[in-house]
Symmetry: C2
Subunit: 417 residues, 2 copies
């Protein structure tokens, strides 16, 4: 069987495919008599197969030319697999501890063969719903974000490298468009795709669509998203794109990757932690009031930013005399000016992260794609209370983000809602 | 003679070349016995030939793989001619009244054949030095900037078109690097290329290199220049890139074009008008004290911004329901929010323009490339006084630009220096 043209795989043709590609069949010891195949594409977009046998394991991810969770009525280029493979390889090079290895990429088939992030790894979002503590999560995510964002920015790269890669990732425009629509547009207008916890949040959803100041702020963020090529960002760094055990953190699914504003990644992660926080009351019961867990989430929010700040500025300091073209050492030649520019850079990045994080929270409550954190709360009234608190905080953050000086103030604000 | 490989033309091979290309030889009526050829590349980078005969005229511009005014020691890709031709065609399509027509482009030869902007057109900078009034200049330049910037921004374009063109112009990276170096870096550090009116401005040049707040601000502008793909900008829109008569205004030489911040173009033009203003005292004599002319320059500065504001926002209003993806009409659906976003957009653009304009002024006084406005003042002491006033204003504008609300305040500030 040849795979010289694109075709969607099924569990049968998948095996034929694996047999035809040494780079992946070797990971299974070239043994095909005891294969176990499971389709686990519980994300929104793609088909994902886990293939395991006694000799090893692999994951095969194939992009089809539409959005899986919507269906063929919402076409979406399968070229996204190419950009996902590029991003996985780059992120893996920069931060191998937290990114699964790519074994094989087939552009014709829009197919990635990669390391299986094996159990007991689970999707972080599910762990947060279950109330599991991940003591290394903040450290690991700060590490991933600091390394992938710093090393692909002009703090480290030359303009030549930067523009070359910016140009390449301009090709991932369809995925950028999808984000623009579902994050920055649909929640602020009437859209057939929007949904919310109705009738409880009917008024809240309408208030979002009528809030001129919110629209003013989201326009600025959308423009940054579309225009500012600050670093190679993951583009979808919510808690569903992270697999965890208490000891390990693996970041997956960067098909939305492109050169965009760093704050979009940091905000996605922090915003989804805040959503997890507000969902906890909906998961509390007599055995577990979730109070201690909520404190752990708040601590993780605080630690993630603080550790990110520390790691990112440490990379900056270490590479001050490197090839990065943004702050030439001959200009930024004294400790005062170095501190001045670094503080300004990090302050702007903090405000960007708050803005993008807030936008990501809002869209998960009144836009097309919701989060299991809230959706899994059986009591819809209780769920609405949780959602409304998150939404109100997010609206305030989007409008007032420039007034916040540090993450501690954000944690205080979260406690007040 | 074949031109299948790149070769620098001389006046003899130029004629052979023209004969071999119908698209340009036809502009000369295919007559080659009465040709007059003049090399006029008085710019910094390229060779430019004017070819005239009784039947017509053309300009041939060829890029060589180095910077002409420095020599072969500063290599520079001749691919810049490709981006110049792309930009000329796009600007010409959007604003044909103010951009010369491209007849022919040869990528192998890095050669553009285009309309000769005939006498009495002269380079605007020379007109400003001579004290010539151009009553339509502000109107024409506002028109050029409003059309080229608006129609290549996300206010008019779809994300798909935008990212496609951003990606293409990422190829013009060498010219972007040159700007980064000479505008945003060299003036703020010790560089072999820097020069200034020594010894008069020795202290002033050193003060620029020791001003931490100035360095903080120029870093923000450099980052915008490198990262923000807001519109197709000319990239070098000073008064030497504009040819004028009292009735006509033609914008030439967009080889630095790429998708960058709009304020870089607006600032380049306004900043060079301000330099022209401060140079006038050096050109005053008993016959002409230049007082009225200085008032005309100030009025032109004010009119340019005000007319740009008016034209740009009028294009925005006219195209509000078009394909532009930045402000979808279903979201920005009431006059209040429309006014709110427009005012914010224009205010940010004003501040960007002031910042970039100031940076362009500074680099013309203490960087590698100076302006004839000052250089042609014979009395070097008098010249230093003019330059220092311009430099002091520029430093103030770069640091304090966010405090200015409108162009009238800028004109008042100019009068005070």
């Amino acid at each position: 069987m040849a795979f010289s043209e694109f075709r969607p795989l099924d569990e049968k043709t998948l095996i034929e495919y694996i047999k035809s590609v040494p780079a992946i069949s070797s990971k299974l010891g070239n043994k095909f008599d005891d294969l176990s195949v499971k389709e686990v594409g519980d994300g929104n977009l793609n088909f994902v197969y886990i293939i395991v046998n006694s000799a090893g394991s692999i994951v095969i991810k194939q992009a089809l030319p539409y959005i899986r969770c919507i269906g063929e009525s919402w076409p979406m280029t399968k070229e996204r697999a190419y950009f996902e493979s590029l991003a996985l390889k780059e992120e893996g090079r920069l931060c191998p501890e937290h990114v699964p290895e790519v074994y094989h990429f087939d552009r014709t088939m829009s197919l990635i063969g990669m390391r299986y992030v094996e159990p007991p790894h689970i999707i972080l979002r599910k762990g947060l719903i279950a109330g599991v503590v991940y003591p290394l999560l903040a450290e690991h995510m700060a590490d991933f974000m600091a390394k992938t964002l710093f090393f692909t920015s002009l703090l480290f790269r030359s303009t030549t490298e930067h523009k070359r890669d910016v140009g390449e990732f301009c090709g991932n425009v369809e995925l950028c468009r999808l984000t623009e629509q579902v994050v920055f547009s649909d929640p602020y207008k009437v859209s057939e795709y929007n949904r919310w916890n109705s009738p409880y949040l009917d008024h809240d959803a309408e208030a979002v669509r009528k809030d001129n100041l919110l629209k003013l702020e989201v326009a600025e963020l959308k423009s940054k998203f579309c225009e500012r090529a600050q670093a190679l960002i993951h583009g979808d760094l919510h808690t569903g794109s992270v697999m965890v055990t208490p000891k390990s953190t693996q970041v997956i699914d960067p098909e939305f990757a492109f050169y965009g504003p760093m704050g979009f990644d940091i905000g996605a992660f922090l915003g989804n932690l805040i959503l997890a926080f507000f969902s906890q009351d909906g998961h509390a019961n007599q055995e577990n009031d979730r109070k201690a867990y909520k404190e752990w989430i708040l601590k993780t929010i605080e630690d993630t930013w603080n550790l990110f700040y520390h790691k990112f500025t440490a990379l900056w300091d270490e590479n001050r005399n490197g090839s990065g073209e943004a702050y030439l050492p001959a200009i930024y030649d004294n400790p005062e000016v170095q501190l001045l520019v670094q503080k300004k850079y990090m302050r702007d990045l903090f405000h960007d992260s708050l803005g993008f994080g807030a936008a990501k929270m809002i869209r998960r409550i009144v836009g097309v794609a919701h989060v299991e954190d809230f959706e899994s709360i059986a009591d819809v009234g209780k769920r609405a209370t949780c959602e409304r608190r998150a939404l109100d905080l997010a609206k305030m953050l989007l409008k007032e983000r420039r007034k916040f000086e540090g993450i501690t103030e954000i944690v205080s604000a979260i406690r007040q809602y």
